[in-house]
């Protein structure tokens, strides 16, 4: 554009008076034409771009659903964007970033119950419950709640955050996931990038990146407000993972497994982000 301008300057300067007079006359005629010309160009561009934006939006809004796999329920391009965005923000993740903790008196007396998916079966018996840790060589470690309680207890009073938007300061206690790994010599398992957890009836399940599972504040909780966890909160053992939204905090853990691929995840199959990290 600048170049064009220079050229036109030159031409003006070198033109003869005759030419200039002619040009001047033309200019006076074109003031309105200039206005019209600029209006025409800019408004055409404006409407063309607006239409393109509208078409683009329509395309995105009606874009096909992703094929059902580990994740489902989202538009294909939006799922792509969710994954890419999470990958970007995972660059800022660190197990040194601890969740803020609170004093006991700040903790809610009535812990909010938001869902009973996976723990609503009538016949469930806490006495016969065992935690099954499935090693990749096919071995299964079966633990009773007492095996788990024998490990060092970690208390955590933190602000539990639900994907819906509410949050509540809650008091939980249990064994750190990383302590459990160390005690039962599962170090070879956590070289795999993902951990999967499921309820005993298999109706609720979460997939976690191993890094987040090993966060020093990730606990398998068996107490809330200094008492054993109630049934609606996932007795006898549930996951508390403060670096994730509540949807990842699986109640009543039945099995734990390790994987190279992303394990299935209940809410990721329903349009939510797989990572759901905070």
């Amino acid at each position: 554009m600048v170049k064009l301008k220079k050229i036109s300057f030159k031409r003006d300067n070198t033109n003869s008076m005759k030419n200039l007079k002619f040009k001047k006359q033309k200019k006076e005629l074109t003031i309105n034409q200039k206005i019209n010309r600029r209006n025409f160009i800019s408004f055409s561009a404006f409407f063309a771009l607006s239409s393109a934006a509208a078409v683009g939006w329509k395309w995105l809004y009606n874009s096909p659903q992703e094929s059902t796999g580990v994740t489902a329920g989202a538009h294909k391009p939006l799922r792509r964007a969710l994954n890419k965005t999470e990958l970007f923000f995972r660059n800022f993740y660190s197990n040194n970033h601890l969740v803020k903790t609170y004093s006991k008196d700040r903790a809610a007396k009535n812990i909010r119950v938001n869902s009973d998916i996976g723990i609503d079966d009538e016949g469930f018996n806490v006495e016969t419950w065992r935690l099954e840790i499935k090693k990749n060589n096919g071995q299964v470690v079966r633990l009773t709640i007492d095996d788990i309680k024998a490990l060092p207890k970690t208390e955590l009073i933190f602000d539990f955050k639900c994907v819906e938007g509410w949050d509540q300061i809650q008091h939980w206690a249990g064994v750190k996931f990383i302590d459990l790994i160390g005690h039962f010599k599962l170090e070879d398992q956590i070289t795999m990038p993902y951990v999967g957890m499921e309820t005993p009836n298999g109706e609720y399940y979460v997939g976690l990146d191993t890094e987040s599972a090993l966060h020093p504040q990730t606990i398998l909780a068996y107490e809330m407000n200094d008492k054993p966890i109630s049934n609606v909160h996932g007795a006898p053992l549930r996951l508390i993972i403060p670096v994730k939204y509540g949807i990842k905090n699986l109640k009543r853990i039945g099995t734990i497994s390790f994987s190279d691929k992303r394990p299935k995840d209940y809410w990721a199959e329903r349009g939510y982000d797989y990572y759901s990290g905070l």
Partner: protein
């Protein structure tokens, strides 16, 4: 006679019109998210004036039960919103346009006179350049609001990884309230903005699309006086 007077640069117009649909999508997807836990209202002395939002409003806009979709859209368009905002701010800083935009010492006093004028209480406007005092305040404030939305949004999005940001925003809950309030601010801004644009008329509106305004020029500099040299309008046409 009428003369073309340049008003809004291409980049200003571009970012303005790009921002419009993006912000609309951000507010809409934000509502899809907010619906899942619509806890906010204005209650004074136990009396609730407004509950955000009434049921008919949700139904009218088809808001309920789209939380996952809302998050997916919100976390995609946040990029465009931020990039577009950064583009505008950098352009404004480096082009020197900020001098026309930022409130001056007397702007706050003058803005009052502008308000009185707009309300037809005062007849004259204080002298102004591109923007009057009230516009300077409003258009600068909206940029800070945009910045605030990005910062509070980030604080809510990753409250653990960006714990310091969350702390700066007054904690998770307060950051959410700020994020919500800023959005209400945009809606309020939008309504005033539309009203003012309608009042200002076509010449003003066109300038945000075509970039120029038409002004009546006194015959002080007639085209005859400057043959040979380029008329101002001429050079400027080629810039665009």
């Amino acid at each position: 006679m009428k003369v073309i007077k340049e008003k809004h640069s291409f980049l200003m117009r571009w970012t303005h019109w790009v921002n419009f649909p993006i912000l609309t999508i951000m507010i809409w997807s934000g509502m899809l998210i907010y619906w899942a836990n619509d806890a906010y209202n204005i209650t004074i002395f136990g009396f609730t004036f407004i509950a955000f939002f009434p049921e008919w409003f949700y139904k009218f806009l088809n808001i309920p039960h789209h939380l996952a979709e809302g998050m997916a859209f919100h976390f995609l368009f946040m990029w465009f919103f931020t990039i577009n905002g950064i583009l505008y701010v950098f352009y404004t800083l480096f082009s020197g346009q900020w001098k026309e935009l930022m409130p001056k010492k007397n702007s706050f006093k003058e803005a009052w006179l502008v308000l009185l004028h707009d309300l037809h209480i005062r007849r004259t406007l204080p002298p102004q350049n591109k923007y009057n005092a009230a516009q300077r305040i409003a258009y600068t404030a909206i940029i800070f609001m945009g910045f605030g939305s990005v910062v509070t949004g980030l604080a809510i999005y990753k409250p653990v990884q960006f714990y310091w940001l969350c702390w700066l925003c007054g904690g998770y809950n307060f950051a959410r309230i700020l994020h919500f309030t800023l959005t209400m601010g945009y809606v309020f801004f939008f309504m005033i903005h539309i009203f003012q644009v309608l009042m200002a008329g076509w010449n003003n509106f066109r300038s945000v699309i075509s970039g120029f305004e038409l002004v009546e020029q006194q015959p002080l500099i007639t085209p005859e006086k400057q043959p040979g040299s380029n008329s101002p309008a001429d050079g400027k046409i080629e810039e665009n």
